[in-house]
């Protein structure tokens, strides 16, 4: 939309810049007269979410290699990176949605419903068509979410809670509760089990997608509008950003990426069943996104830190499992870590609309 020049607001990239009111002490040391500029730079780097998550990754790596040396095995690391590609897709979806100040609880159900829809084509068409159909279904379901939220102006928590149940039930309905096996779909299975130059296929796809999205979000106008929408919807609207369109696109992407993550998972397992939506994927994705410094209030988050957070989280789970604690103790630790991590890395700004 065309807005006269005086009213155009320049969007400032908010992540990575220290929030002055949090750190008055730092501000005092940054007098322009001294070598303030480089200190400011250093301060920016050190307090950025990417750096923090990277540090955490290194800590987990070091401690893990001491307590569970099996972690360092090549096959194990391949498992970890493949697993983080899968959860990373959900985390990416969650990040995108959080960036515009919304939340999506239906990612697990969207994924499973789309996969079931795709599975109906098994044996009917080639498996490549099946893959494409599944992804398209996921995108359309995301679109449904987006429409309910933008056109009907429903709060995203409620809307996605509703679609979570609706899509979950529809997945059962469409599949009559049956699990679908995919042994005769080699391309489909390749999506999960295959390797490209020794790197698991899910990782290759995820890296490409993350890079593309990074470019989109940081270097295009679209990306800046996304951040603006989340940071201050009213101001964004007034300065001509088409909020509806942005949110629709985001929800479509979220559905698409969640479905892709689920596709990788089901390819690994040779099957998909309607109960797969209940695995807590959306919650894991949300936790990773927040762990990566994405703000629940919107407008702040980084693709890179989400990616690093996904890897760190997966590595952490791996270390827990390998250390022989037992399934249930692992779960206890997972919960405790979540609490501890979020206490330290959660954005301290707690105002605005989507309070949670």
């Amino acid at each position: 939309m065309c807005v006269p020049a005086p009213f155009q607001v320049r969007v400032r990239q908010t992540e990575g810049i220290p929030v002055e009111k949090e750190n008055p002490a730092a501000l005092q040391t940054l007098s322009p007269a001294s070598s303030g500029k480089s200190k400011l730079q250093l301060h920016r780097i050190v307090t950025s979410s990417q750096f923090i998550v990277l540090c955490l990754l290194i800590i987990v790596w070091i401690v893990g290699s001491i307590t569970a040396p099996a972690m360092l095995q090549r096959d194990n690391l391949i498992n970890v990176i493949r697993g983080s590609a899968i959860t990373g897709m959900f985390a990416l979806a969650a990040t995108l949605v959080l960036l515009v100040g919304e939340i999506d609880l239906s990612l697990g159900s969207t994924m499973v419903f789309a996969l079931i829809i795709g599975s109906k084509l098994y044996g009917v068409t080639s498996d490549i068509v099946m893959i494409i159909a599944t992804l398209v279904a996921g995108a359309l379901l995301g679109l449904f979410n987006g429409i309910v939220i933008t056109v009907f102006k429903v709060k995203s928590l409620m809307a996605t809670l509703g679609t979570m149940s609706l899509f979950g039930g529809l997945a059962y309905f469409l599949s009559s509760g049956k699990v679908a096996l995919f042994y005769q779909a080699p391309n489909y299975l390749w999506m999960g089990k295959g390797m490209i130059l020794g790197i698991p296929v899910p990782v290759v796809f995820s890296v490409v997608i993350f890079v593309v999205l990074f470019i989109f979000l940081h270097l295009t106008k679209f990306g800046k509008e996304v951040y603006f929408t989340g940071a201050n919807p009213l101001a964004a609207w007034m300065s001509g950003v088409n909020i509806k369109r942005i949110k629709l696109i985001i929800f479509v992407l979220a559905g698409l990426f969640a479905t892709l993550g689920g596709l990788f998972q089901s390819a690994l397992l040779n099957e998909v069943g309607p109960s797969y939506g209940a695995g807590g994927y959306e919650m894991t994705g949300l936790s990773i996104a927040i762990f990566g410094g994405t703000s629940m209030a919107g407008g702040k988050g980084s693709i890179l830190s989400t990616a690093l957070a996904a890897i760190t989280f997966q590595l952490l789970l791996n270390v827990l499992t390998l250390s022989g604690l037992g399934t249930y103790m692992e779960q206890v630790f997972k919960g405790l870590f979540l609490i501890i991590i979020v206490i330290s890395f959660q954005n301290l700004e707690r105002k605005r609309y989507a309070k949670l």
């Binding site: 149940s165 609490i339 949670l356």
Partner: protein, 331 residues
């Protein structure tokens, strides 16, 4: 009455209309809906969901979320039983017989369960306000912790309560044909509704949720009221857990899995807003009735459970759209 007025009336009383429709469906199309036995079933099934939904509503009214309620349904009774058996064990009395059967300590167990629920809620509240963090993630983490920890208490066994005198009273006794658990539920919700409307508790909670900053500037200790809301929700969840355990005469590590989603769904259908400060407990009660009715009527129709899930999803969406309609916003 013109179109607009009809829409207005429909919109305002949406929940009541859904209840009436469901009751009509049940009464007209099945012959067992209106029997005394079935109505009692309805009341029984409302209690567990209802307590959880009330707790969730209290937390949502201060614009937070509590995902631990499902895991508290199993953790509170199990941990309470664990403590009871340890405490009584110190006095030389062994209440755990044959590996699975509980034979004593009923009162202590019930009191401890409520305390455990209150403490967990309190702890959640303190962490959330002190560190100013997202309640969704913290309660999620606690949910995992409690869900895993409960398996350590009794090695994953279910505990039988059928040899414990009076254990099944709370869940199955009746007062003039009305289940005691429902009477308790009605009493507690009555007290809470009255408190929210007429006492300081209510005013503070609505103020905290409605506009936290303004409330803080007005001198209200918003942190304190948030912690109170969490403590209440934890207590209500543990009461629900006691009723559940009493009705099935056992304490399982897996009971209540996934119930936090029900609680959340009921609260939002009942009109409690995620942003806080908006919605009433009366709405929550009606939404509880709706969910209980859906389960009841649909199972009388012998429909598969996935129809119920879809139906609930549809109801949530309809209620959400209707509420959005009522609340005009620019963006």
């Amino acid at each position: 009455m013109n179109n607009k007025q009809v829409k207005q009336v429909l919109g305002d009383n949406m929940l009541l209309i859904i209840i009436i429709l469901l009751v009509a469906m049940g009464a007209l199309f099945t012959d067992s809906f209106l029997t005394l036995y079935n109505i009692k079933n309805l009341l029984y099934s409302m209690t567990v969901y209802g307590f959880l939904a009330l707790g969730q509503s209290m937390v949502m009214l201060v614009s937070e979320l509590n995902l631990t309620q499902g895991s508290l349904l199993s953790f509170a009774p199990t941990f309470a039983m664990f403590l009871t058996s340890k405490i009584l064990g110190l006095t030389g009395r062994n209440i755990l017989v044959g590996g699975n059967y509980i034979t004593g300590g009923l009162v202590l167990y019930m009191v401890l369960a409520i305390l455990v629920g209150m403490l967990v809620g309190f702890l959640m509240g303190i962490i959330i306000v002190k560190f100013n963090v997202s309640s969704l993630v913290v309660t999620l983490g606690m949910m995992y912790t409690l869900g895993g920890g409960v398996f350590f208490l009794f090695n994953g066994y279910s505990l039988y309560l059928n040899r414990l005198e009076g254990a099944k009273w709370l869940g199955t006794a009746e007062l003039f044909s009305i289940p005691v658990s429902f009477v308790l539920f009605a009493l507690v919700s009555g007290i809470l509704i009255w408190a929210m409307k007429y006492t300081k508790l209510g005013r503070r909670i609505y103020a905290t949720g409605g506009n936290e900053r303004a409330a803080t500037y007005a001198g209200i200790n918003t942190k304190k009221w948030k912690v109170i809301a969490f403590a209440i929700s934890g207590t209500l969840a543990s009461i629900a857990g006691l009723i559940y355990s009493s009705r099935v005469e056992s304490v399982d590590p897996v009971q209540g899995t996934g119930y936090q989603m029900f609680a959340l769904a009921i609260a939002v259908v009942g009109g409690v807003s995620m942003e806080g400060g908006r919605g009433t407990l009366v709405g929550t009660l009606m939404a509880t009735a709706i969910v209980a009715l859906i389960f009841n009527v649909m199972s009388l129709f012998n429909l598969f459970s996935w129809y119920q899930t879809m139906f609930i999803g549809a109801i949530i969406l309809i209620a959400a759209i209707q509420q959005a309609y009522n609340r005009k916003s620019l963006v």
